[in-house]
Symmetry: C2
Subunit: 339 residues, 2 copies
Amino acid sequence: MTVSITDVARAAGVSASTVSRALRGRPGVSDEVRAQITAVATQLGYTASRSASSLASGRTFTIGVVVPYVGRWFFGTVLDAAEHVFSAAGYDVLLYNLGSPETRKRFFTRLPLRKRVDAVLSLLIPDEEESAALRSLGVPLASTVGGARPGFSVVGIDDRAGAEHAVRHLVNLGHRRIGMISGSSGEQHWTTPVARRQAYLDVLSDAGIAHDPALEADGDYTVEGGERAMTELLAATRPPTAVFAQSDEMAMGALRALRRHRLRVPDDVSVVGFDDHELSDVLGLTTVAQPVAGQGAEAARLLLRQLDEPDGERAGHVQMPIRLVLRETTAPPSPRGPQ
Amino acid sequence: MTVSITDVARAAGVSASTVSRALRGRPGVSDEVRAQITAVATQLGYTASRSASSLASGRTFTIGVVVPYVGRWFFGTVLDAAEHVFSAAGYDVLLYNLGSPETRKRFFTRLPLRKRVDAVLSLLIPDEEESAALRSLGVPLASTVGGARPGFSVVGIDDRAGAEHAVRHLVNLGHRRIGMISGSSGEQHWTTPVARRQAYLDVLSDAGIAHDPALEADGDYTVEGGERAMTELLAATRPPTAVFAQSDEMAMGALRALRRHRLRVPDDVSVVGFDDHELSDVLGLTTVAQPVAGQGAEAARLLLRQLDEPDGERAGHVQMPIRLVLRETTAPPSPRGPQ
DNA sequence: CGCTGTTGCGCAAGCGTTTGCGTTCAGTTT
DNA sequence: AAACTGAACGCAAACGCTTGCGCAACAGCG
């Protein structure tokens, strides 16, 4: 039925061990024999059984990638880039999409990737317990999206600096009433929203602007959430003349809410986002750009490096650059204020 | 080091075969013994090695999913939904991201998923040769995105009807000069762009409108391509008063081009897209909605069904519903025309 | 010309499961 | 009471690779 290594061995007139060594570039095979074997193998359409070879060798040549939502632009883009790096290095990727709390819980208790992967890339921030579970796999770990944990290589950005850029930009334009649409504060161990908020507070304080809690709203990192949050902010006694959204998706929701309220952007209200979503350019959204695909690729490379040098087990930590991208949703405040 | 089936067997005072049968719910084990074994197994944190069990049984309990670009909204969403169905059924998914022609070629010649998967879901349209390669795997096959091929279950939509809705809507509004931004016509075997274009031609002809080749441009299914295409159309001697873009992403590019040309939408030019991208709502884009996640889930279910009934090998064919979603980018043509 | 190194290859023992078949034994049937 | 059931379980042979070790053959050295 399906051609095995002994078929190749027989056809080439050698032993199975020699075929194995020849095909994987191991030493101990003369050049002529190796050439002959590869010829026979390709002619027979032979591919080594991954199950068998990983059972025998202990290496699986596959990487587990866990993601909260593959469908979301950010994660899809990171995954895309990481997958390219992995597959170029001969690794397959096993994808786990852990959107709902139940799947997530089930995943971490049953740990389906035990003995199935050589490394794990996590695009979600594991809590203390989850990261312990991952560490118990005994393989190199990496995660994007900040949230350093012991045993993990992490690649991320300086959230604080990014948010500072965004808010300072608004301050520099002359805004004094600056709102913020924050990410979900649901997960405590997830530092990004906290860091960005702190930057917001710091910049305001530096500029001598009193912090008004009525100018903060939670947008849950989604378009709809951003729309809701913006609507809330507009309902404040003295609505903001500018808002900083902690993600572009929320900023887009904000734009939508503003349009529904017949407010002009940036004439009435300025908006600045965070991420540089692929469609932010289309919308003309001013935002803090971070290298999303770059982070995925870098994290993948970090893992591969750890796989190559099993002794130098040191988990890396890479900080990627950010920059403020000026587009068309920010401008000085209108002299007559919003409305 | 890591706990194996014999460890469990020893701890439970039974043989490995009994452990295997007990844990997988096979008959031939008394209830008490089974309970005892499961208790011991969970207490020891035992998970069966996938490599070993698939080597022995031939079943891998993993599904291969091949995708052109995980990063793109459409594919990411389909994948997301499919993954949920698979993982709920106890299957893992092995992801192959085949963006570039080289990776794609390498994938199909080396076929890394030979003996690695129980089924394959393809989100790209394989050409004759590629689909033959997939068939040679001897496992159930399914694909979304139309393009029926022998041996494949396919779930898709009525592209023709969808495009007809879109174009007829523009005709009904009173437009006579209707442009089209089409998808890449690069791949011949890929029927979607052809079907949508045919619908466009038919509706025009039904309405007694002469077809003007200058009103067609290729947008390559990307935002940038859509922008370029719209720019081309606007450079025509008599530019269109409305355009039908074969995807929302291209429509968004078109919106961008229009804004750059200081043209108002829908006052000067109407735009209708196709897909109902998650951000189309934000942009107020009128479009033909198709159930994207639904298609992924349905395709996954089709595959699982084939895996369950290996005798009833019949490949299914599912057509999902579409509908025109009216938003804010379409209106009757302005009396004074564009410009 | 014996001796030690290399080099190239085959042998066989795993790797951790699954599964067909054989055995045991309690419970039925004559 | 002997013979006959099944049910419950163990034995051992796969599954298709990898890899440590052994063994030739042959080179280079004194």
